[in-house]
């Protein structure tokens, strides 16, 4: 039986190849090409916190790869060809030089997987003026507000969007009194700011706030330390801001009072999660795993969406022209399927991708924000993050 199956599979593969060849030949004359560059820099391997999660070097790029295949499957029927060229700058290399040198006039669309301090360095280059950049890595609200750029679209939900998603859930659960625990990094402080903003917006109360100091005192263990650290006035929920995951995992089950943990650990807010299966998500999870041999990470999802957004705009406009695609992506007609129920679109005031946010525990999808009941005159998705009247981004599209 197995050998027959194998034979059948082989025959299918053969048929498939023949078909591919014939399809590409059929359109050989009439192809419109859409060139997309993917720019990233190698990352230093961070110290491992746990052996459970190995460091993933290729986060992002594999998502872009899956999307280019999807685009080209559609492209077969529309006479469009999508090309993805990857530029991976070495650890000691310079992204600005790489951008100037390698991503010449050929690539009007650039998927950028770079840290927050690098994105605008690239976006402000003269070479980037006639391009559209898709930021698939940052979550900074500043980059979407006062530091926003007209040639950058942000795919991942910002810190404010995540904090609002968490706050909506806590409000629904009536976890009104928060104990905010903040890590020592600048990123943690930024997420704490977003949480404070969310608490204010949704009428929640931060009853206690503490910074987690990393010490090397051998007498202090996670077991004893957290119990002592969390002896504060009564609260409903511990909200943690620890983006690098340096201590947050130690909080759950160790607090002095029995309280849930939410934030960057415990129940987390994310654009994508392996427990997500609704709205056809199980299909893309399977396709990604088959292609990559691992689960789809948030950065993979973001890169997937960036390349799919270009594909969707090119298919609908039947064009590869930068300005036409740019206009279409910001228009009301643009609706990107992102396996999260609602169609995704870009906010016209800051280039942020509008999207539902998943609230997930390690092995369970708990809720999807916006939580039912949080209303908005235009779209409930804009209850998350900086809405048009609050935005300080000033660029004319």
């Amino acid at each position: 039986m197995r050998s027959i199956n194998l034979l059948v599979q082989k025959t299918f593969k053969f048929l498939f190849i023949i078909h591919l060849v014939s399809v590409s030949m059929a359109y050989a004359g009439a192809k419109q090409t859409i060139n997309i560059a993917y720019l990233t820099q190698e990352q230093k391997v961070p110290p491992p916190l746990s052996n459970l999660d190995t460091f993933i070097k290729d986060k992002g790029v594999l998502g872009a790869g899956l999307a280019i295949d999807d685009n080209n499957t559609t492209g077969q029927f529309t006479g469009q060809q999508f090309v993805l060229k990857k530029f991976i700058v070495p650890l000691d290399g310079n992204v600005v030089d790489a951008f100037n040198k390698d991503i010449g006039d050929q690539y009007p669309y650039v998927v950028v997987n770079l840290p927050a301090d690098a994105i605008n360095k690239v976006a402000d280059l003269p070479a980037a003026k006639q391009k559209l950049l898709f930021d698939v890595a940052t979550v900074d609200d500043a980059l979407r507000n006062e530091q926003c750029r007209a040639n950058v679209r942000h795919i991942l939900p910002s810190r404010a969007m995540r904090a609002d998603a968490l706050a909506q859930y806590m409000m629904k659960k009536r976890w009104n009194k928060w104990f905010l625990v903040i890590g020592a990094t600048e990123e943690d402080r930024l997420f704490a700011d977003a949480l404070r903003r969310a608490a204010k917006r949704f009428g929640m109360k931060i009853v206690e706030e503490k910074t987690w100091e990393h010490t090397y005192d051998a007498r202090r263990t996670a077991q004893s330390d957290v119990a002592v650290f969390t002896q504060v006035d009564d609260y409903d929920v511990l909200v943690v801001a620890d983006e690098q995951g340096r201590f947050g995992e130690y909080l759950e089950y160790r607090t002095w009072n029995a309280r849930p943990v939410i934030g960057t650990q415990g129940l987390t807010a994310t654009a994508w999660h392996r427990t997500h299966e609704q709205w056809g998500a199980v299909q893309i999870q399977n396709r990604f795993k088959e292609q990559s041999g691992r689960w789809m990470e948030e950065a993979d999802y973001a890169a997937y969406l960036a390349v799919r957004a270009i594909g969707e705009a090119a298919t609908r406009t039947k064009s590869n022209d930068l300005n036409r695609l740019k206009d279409y992506m910001l228009s009301d007609a643009f609706a990107l399927q992102g396996y999260k129920g609602n169609p995704l679109s870009f906010r016209s005031w800051d280039g942020q991708l509008r999207q539902p946010i998943l609230l997930a525990a390690a092995r369970s999808m708990v809720a999807v924000a916006p939580i039912e009941g949080f209303l908005h005159p235009k779209t409930e998705l804009d209850t998350l993050g900086y809405d048009q009247p609050e935005s300080t981004c000033k660029w004319s599209k």
Binding site: V8, F12, L15, F16, H19, L20, V23, D70, T73, T74, Q76, F77, T78, W279, G280, Q283, N286, R287, E290, E312, T315, R316, A335, L336, Q337, G341, N342, P343, E372, E380
Partner: protein, 320 residues
């Protein structure tokens, strides 16, 4: 005990004399098939069928059921009377939806992960052809005049028109995002396609293969993102069409002449697939998360009963 059986038999016989029909429902999470008598409104049997059963269809002579048991990677042929498995079809991986041609000798299967439509010769239990389509093909329908098979790809957002004679795609129509299900009118002149994400129903003219009308559903008190149209059926006189609206828990009643939405009928939760009774006087819906089916009387346009069937009812087929 004997008396009871006799009594039941008598009831079945009596009611059966007037209008006997059997509704078969696949239960995705019970690995089973529910058998319902819609006239008395009761679940009469539940039989094990295979892993994760979803798509279901009945042969034109009503002798066989075809059931996609997704996790067994096959489509099972089930004797519609004994409910015993009599054969398996080589459906490819993870079959979900499929369509029978009018003659009942060909089966067209969507292979979602492989971007293929597999054409199966039912008598020979053999794959005749695989047709490459867009990303994540799902809904599929064969035209009653046997000229077209149309496959919808959810991520490519297209319907692909396969010419039955040549078994090749001759045209593609771009449609609203995440097209889910599609159905031809009995005269084969129109193709109705639902879009899960846009919350719309599109009417395509088969001659031009273009969209001639888009209907946007709007249910009072239900947010737009909950309106996710899936299953669609049209009556044989093309008077009315019916669309299952998923988590909006409604079936939309559409005037198939004017394309007005006449009514929204409240059914069970996450209504997904629909099937007519043989005389088209009733409509049966599978309600995925309330674990029941709704029985709709089409003359009065009212939901008359819901019948609990099991976990995650998915597909539905009716035997006269």
């Amino acid at each position: 005990m004997k008396k009871n059986v006799l009594g039941l038999l008598l009831t079945v016989l009596l009611t059966g004399a007037a209008q006997a029909e059997t509704v078969f429902v696949t239960l995705e999470k019970d690995n089973a098939l529910a058998v319902v008598d819609p006239i008395i409104g009761k679940l009469i049997n539940t039989v094990e069928i295979g892993q994760r059963p979803r798509g279901i269809a009945i042969s034109p002579d009503n002798k066989f059921l075809y059931v996609a048991t997704s996790d067994d990677n096959t489509i099972k042929i089930i004797d519609a009377d004994t409910l015993k498995e009599v054969g398996r079809l080589p459906s490819g991986k993870d079959p979900e939806t499929f369509a029978l041609n009018p003659a009942g000798d060909r089966l067209y299967v969507s292979n979602e992960d492989d971007r293929l439509v597999t054409v199966i010769d039912i008598a020979k239990k053999k794959v005749i052809k695989q047709i490459k389509v867009g990303v994540e093909p799902e809904g599929i329908a064969a035209s009653p005049n046997n000229l077209w098979v149309v496959s919808a790809s959810e991520t490519t957002n297209m319907v692909h028109w396969v010419d039955v004679k040549t078994q090749t795609i001759v045209e593609n129509t771009l449609v609203d995002p995440r097209p889910r299900a599609l159905s031809f009118t009995a005269d084969s002149q129109q193709l109705w396609v639902t879009s899960e994400m846009a919350g719309t129903l599109m009417i395509l003219d088969v001659k031009t293969k273009q969209i001639v009308k888009t209907i946007k559903f709007d249910v009072q008190g239900v947010t737009a993102d909950k309106i996710q149209p899936v299953g669609v059926v049209i009556d044989k006189d093309r008077k009315r069409g019916y669309v299952a609206l998923g988590p909006a828990n409604r079936v939309a009643v559409i005037n198939a002449q004017t394309f007005e939405v006449e009514k929204y009928l409240l059914v069970g939760q996450r209504v997904w697939n629909l099937a007519f009774s043989p005389d088209q006087k009733r409509l049966y819906t599978t309600n995925g998360t309330s674990n029941d089916i709704s029985l709709i009387d089409l003359e009065t346009q009212t939901v008359t009963k819901s019948v609990g069937v099991g976990t995650y009812p998915w597909g539905v087929a009716v035997k006269p």
